[in-house]
Symmetry: C2
Subunit: 173 residues, 2 copies
């Protein structure tokens, strides 16, 4: 099959590997974040739901890679570097940790949104309808998570600042 050896098909496979590495990193970060949240139960609950989605996304992306004859053992340098920072972040305990967590999670979800948007187009380009459908499905879940963060940020901020000004309260996470 011609498209299997085209540059476009090679890029598609590379990007699927990047996406798989990204989802593995997402699981690590989200698990660490959820484990540290103490006083924002609704945030913790939403993250836990997204961890379940993330594991399923890993499985779906792995399925696409294997169907295209690739494996998930490699991932590209650049994504690895980016992921390492998000990981470094997930170990930081700042006084405004819950708000920084919301901010970086929103950026990370949007990194995933960009990745899957590109994958949908690349899969369509090489005529791989199944990969396009899988990536479209994951894209919707990432969008839902990003929208949840956006929608809940104003309330979270007010709650955080009210607690910050209350000496009895533990606001930071």
């Amino acid at each position: 099959m011609e498209s299997d050896t085209s540059k476009a098909a090679e890029h598609l496979l590379d990007w699927l590997r990047d996406a798989h590495a990204m989802e593995e990193q997402a699981e690590t970060m989200l698990t660490s974040l959820a484990g540290r949240i103490e006083t924002y139960p609704e945030v913790k609950q939403r993250i836990e739901r997204h961890i379940v989605e993330t594991r399923e996304q890993q499985r779906l992306v792995r399925g696409c890679i294997e169907r295209l004859g690739g494996d998930t053992s490699m991932f590209k340098d650049l994504t690895g570097k980016m992921m390492a920072t998000f990981q470094a972040f997930s170990g930081v305990f700042a006084s405004d940790e819950i708000m920084k967590g919301a901010m970086f999670s929103y950026a990370f979800e949007n990194l995933e949104i960009a990745a899957y948007s590109q994958l949908v187009e690349a899969a369509k380009f090489v005529g791989d309808a199944e990969t396009a459908a899988v990536c479209e499905r994951i894209l919707q879940e990432e969008r839902a998570m990003a929208q949840w963060i956006e929608h809940n940020t104003p309330g979270l901020m007010r709650q955080f600042l009210m607690r910050a000004d209350d000496p009895e309260s533990q606001a930071k996470r």
Copy 2:
């Protein structure tokens, strides 16, 4: 004035400093990116327009910081770390550089969107209408840039992959 010494007001000032550092980093990254783009003139042009906006945003944020009695010499560790990675990225020349550039720029714009969304709420909370208005204005510019990237990604991807499969073409940037 009570609110000047509240924890909430301290957070607001810290976050404005973070935003200022973020805009400085944005200028460095965008300048590097625009300087390397060779075969996607419409992307280069949009980035150059955003560099002009970014410089004005730095000035506006600095104005808020100075009005609140702060200075821009410090910025918080976490943001510094995050920025360093985006900077590291801006030095990478991958074979799919234009697509990775679009992806990371989209994530970065959304990091800025999250930061200014939080700042708008924090400024309203402490009753600083001027900072809220400045951050709301910048937020709209960041959203416009993110939307531009999102809107242009499908076409950019098709162009990239067509060129990737054409041995005569220089697709990567």
